[in-house]
Amino acid sequence: MGKIERISGPLVVAKEMLGSSMYDVVRVGTAKLIGEIIKLEGEKAVIQVYEDTSGVRPGETVISTGKPLSVELGPGILSQIFDGVQRPLDLIKAKSGTFIKRGSEVSAVDRRKKWQFHADKKATKGTRVSEGTILGYVEETPLIKHYIMVPQGVSGKIQSIKAGKFSVEETIAVVRTARGLAKISMLQRRPVRQASKYAEKIAAEVPLITGQRIIDTLFPVAKGGTAGIPGPFGSGKTVMQQSLAKYSDANIVVYVGCGERGNEMTDVLTEFPELTDPTTGRPLMERTVLIANTSNMPVAAREASIYTGITIAEYFRDMGYNVALMADSTSRWAEAMREISTRLEEMPGEEGYPAYLPKRVAEFYERAGRVKTLGGGMGSVTVVGAVSPPGGDLSEPVSQSTLRVVKTFWALDAALASSRHFPAINWLTSYSLYTLALQKWYDDNIGEDFTANRTKAQALLQKEAELKDIVQLVGEDALPDTERALLSVGRMIRESFLRQSAFDPVDAFTSLKKQNLMLGTMLRFGDKAREAAEKGVSAENSMGLEVVKKISRMKELAEDKVDDESKKINEEIDSQFKKLIAEHGLEEEEVKA
């Protein structure tokens, strides 16, 4: 037990703290604010406090809990919304009303609720188990089985195990270990700043399907991969993150709202329970964990929220699930780090950020991955981090540290956003390093034309951009018909394929199959238009064909009709061009001449 010596914002220095260790959680002052030791100096400890320190006085006591900052894991955490240090916000609301009062002590996981525990068939008396072995499961939501695993540091033979209704703290199994009997309940704790263990990392080879055309087709991210979304304000980062949270085919989604708007979290909270999982028809909330530390909530808890999120993600990964973690925005997390560092009077690095920023960013993204779990299953954590560069300038430290570690880069573009082209992902500067690793999967599951279509579309868009530069100088009329046709097809792909409305019920999600059919159709049209142009048909005539309207409205087609319709459209393309060339095309000799 120590005493407060100095208070400056979220930073408190306490003396007489000998015996406490780094990153221990402490309770500060008479208000019992939650804090964490971030520096030790002789008998003094520097503490970052996760709550507002107004009114705290020197001389008040500081009590160390002797434990590092941890999260509680067990049935009951799905469909919850927590603050940055894993306190359920609805319990805080029940306790203190509309506004968040300080020093609220609420536990992350409900202690009273009883869950039906089903023991695993293989987990019987005498079975050897070790950390991560699955003992059984609880059907936490109709969507998700919550597997109960042997916690950290326990290995031995099962002495007893019983199925039935239990609360999270009751013993469900006893394991005979080298050091005696260990009682196992459904609740476990994991320190947040430490990556959870796994058997081995495995290369990514399956895409995370998001239903977003520009992502899935052009710049995919693998399950277990990492992606960064940097963009200026108003470029649609949050809408993108939310679309990914809604439509990606992950089993579990952990959404961390880090230092963002309160109304955005409310939006997620009101929308997710109404949205249904495309495959099961159950509310999306049943597979989601939300962590909300809005911009007006205490800054130190913002720093912790990212770690709280990834630790929960790893927990579900260890059960064998594919987990997607969305962090919006990692810049706020970095800024929280900067604020604490400034108060510690550490020597600043670039733009006032601490010199260890790149290391922390890299460590965080390194916790993503596809792994063989300790329990023998396969699981993955995919991390998608939004970055909010000041003034949209990507040369700033947070963007740069992020770009060095992520393998997919979705460059949000202010110019696209201001012409309401959403998602405002720039198709020329974005990249994905997963396309090669994923090719086999596409070949096997979608079709071999998928990768070919992507390559072709990207080349076409690149060419279009070059031509647009020329048009800026000489006007479109000065270009030959073949190039004008290419410009038109480029516009068609941009407007009708890459643009996608997150708010339109049909357009918001497009299956990979439909994406491939759409792009294939547009490219086929492009080939035909080029052919026609070579035969002397003007670009205006090609674009004036009846079928163009149908192509540009393909995105409105329902998933079950898209096969038949696209076949029809492709036939129409062929027949209409045939007719067009017959009417307007030049004779072969003329072409040659």
Binding site: S54, G262, N263, T266, N296, V474
Partner: protein, 506 residues
């Protein structure tokens, strides 16, 4: 009652900060009274507290403070503001003291001015459309109740006039709930301050208004307090009294500059352009106080003004603001130079909550499509303009020429409107259709087919029945009335201006 100890132990005065020695246990954020030899009292706040000293930030000038004879006492509490319904109709200074008369008002509650963060679980999603009567805003960057939507402007642009027009015209359709305006002038000139007050007085809004005025020559450190006082009052009126409060903080740039001044006085490591690294958090603690709470009647909508230094939207103040607020209304110098009022440029503007407040049952089912199409077409028109500047109008393709024409019509018919012209949302959308109907129909890819068939002039023309004609006639009648009203308003405004000038001369 707690006994206040007076300390005569000031060790250092530096900028707005005092280091007071031998203070045992000052609370962080505690308010202090600083007593000068002359008997004058100033307020201060503890910004760092240790077991041997406290650093106090003075709200007000430090002139007259002496190490020898000035005393500091700690009142044991953080800054609290006494609030009450009788504050409506009153004007206060930047520290919350009545400025108009010395008359006291009935204090109903004492509130910490820093407020408490609203639990995201307890928020209700803003979704009530606020009709401002300004086409560019209602049509393209719709304001909803509980939103924070700042005006990004620059010096020399008519942001004050636009803000006043919105305050005058804003209403929620079909609702007659009680409303209030809380206005905070932060470091603004006397002229600007009286422009707003006159405006509120003329329209009769003053009795529903609480104003806090920190003028340009008032102490800059006081500016840290002013917006918080305003918001504390607003929260009381909204959540205790069930009013719908429109908060206008102007100018947030002055606030941020005061914050920088304070940070540099504290010798903190500066972030971008000398602004403190925690400016995002600090601004958020102001902007995030907009919203609607579940289970309570009122709401707080923020319409703040941020002037962009050097017209630069990437400057830290507008930049961080944009990351926190739910969009922005972007004023453009270029449009202003064309003589266009209000010079709102839709391309830089955005309302993030627009989708919640528009559509069938709220505005009209075609609103989203029309807005997207207008945005897209205007963006395309800009491309055509750039192109024509290089290669000349003659060399443009037919499509580009069409868009060029569209751009001009859009500016003169849609964006431009009178300062006293209050357009209904139907009128705004109809003007939109009028403009869009001049474009080839297959360009209208952002609007649903059924909406095109219902609203496009081509289809409306052929479908016009007797009933529709009557409706049209009725509308023109209404429009005439509105025009008449607008003219009257302008006359009034001129009168007001004259009166104001007269006062100035006296």
């Amino acid at each position: 009652m707690k006994l206040e100890t007076e300390y005569r132990t000031i060790g250092k005065v530096s900028g707005p900060l005092l280091v007071v020695n031998a203070v045992k246990n000052a609370g962080y954020g505690e308010i202090t009274r600083i007593r000068l030899e002359s008997g004058e009292e100033r307020l201060g706040q503890v910004i760092e507290s240790a077991d041997t000293y406290a650093i106090v930030q003075v709200f007000g000038p430090t002139s007259g403070i002496s190490i020898k004879s000035t005393s500091v006492s700690f009142i044991g509490e953080t800054f609290k503001l006494g609030v009450g319904e009788e504050m409506l109709g009153r004007v206060f200074d930047g520290q919350g003291r009545p400025k108009d008369t010395k008359a006291a008002f009935a204090v109903e509650k004492e509130r910490d001015i820093n407020g408490e963060p609203m639990n995201p679980v307890a928020r209700r999603m803003p979704s009530d459309f606020i009709q401002t009567g300004v086409s560019s805003i209602d049509g393209l960057m719709t304001l909803v109740r509980g939103q924070k939507l700042p005006i990004f402007s620059s010096s020399g642009l008519p942001h004050n006039r636009l803000a006043a027009q919105i305050a005058r015209q804003a209403r929620v359709l079909g609702s007659s709930e009680s409303f209030a305006v809380v206005f905070a002038g932060i470091g603004i000139t006397y002229d600007d301050a009286s422009f707003f007050i006159d405006n509120f007085r003329r329209t009769g809004a003053l009795k529903r208004t609480v104003a806090f005025m920190n003028l340009a020559d008032d102490p800059s450190i006081e500016r840290i307090l002013t917006p918080r006082l305003a918001l504390t009052t607003a929260e009381f009126l909204a959540y205790d009294k069930g009013m719908h409060v429109l908060v206008m903080l102007t100018d947030m740039t002055n606030y941020a500059e005061a914050l920088r001044e304070l940070a540099s006085a504290r010798e903190e490591v500066p972030g971008r352009r000398g602004y403190p690294g925690y400016m995002y958090t600090d601004l958020a603690s102001i902007y995030e106080r907009a919203g609607i709470a579940e289970g309570r009647k009122g709401s707080i909508t923020q319409l703040n003004i941020v002037t962009m230094p050097g017209d630069d939207v990437t400057h830290p103040i507008p930049d961080l603001t944009g990351y926190i607020t739910e969009g922005q209304i972007f004023m453009s110098r270029e449009l202003n130079n064309k003589g266009l009022y209000p010079p709102v440029n839709p391309l830089g503007s955005l309302s993030r909550l627009m989708n919640n407040g528009i559509g069938e049952g709220k505005t009209r089912e075609d609103h989203r499509g029309v807005a997207d199409q207008l945005y897209g077409a205007y963006a395309r028109a800009q491309e055509s303009r750039n192109l024509s500047a290089i290669i000349g109008v003659e060399a443009l393709s037919e499509a580009d020429r069409l868009y060029l024409k569209f751009g001009d019509a859009f500016e003169s018919k849609f964006l431009k409107q009178g300062e006293y012209e209050d357009r209904s949302i139907e009128k705004t959308l109809d003007i939109g259709w009028e403009l869009l109907s001049d474009l080839p129909e297959n360009e209208l890819t952002r609007i649903k087919r059924e909406h095109i068939e219902r609203h496009h002039l081509k289809y409306r023309g052929t479908r016009k029945t007797e009933g529709a004609k009557e409706e049209v006639e009725k509308k023109t009648g209404e429009e005439k009335k509105a025009e008449k009203k607008a003219k009257e308003g302008e006359k009034e405004a001129k009168k007001g201006e004259k009166a104001h000038r007269g006062k100035g001369r006296k």
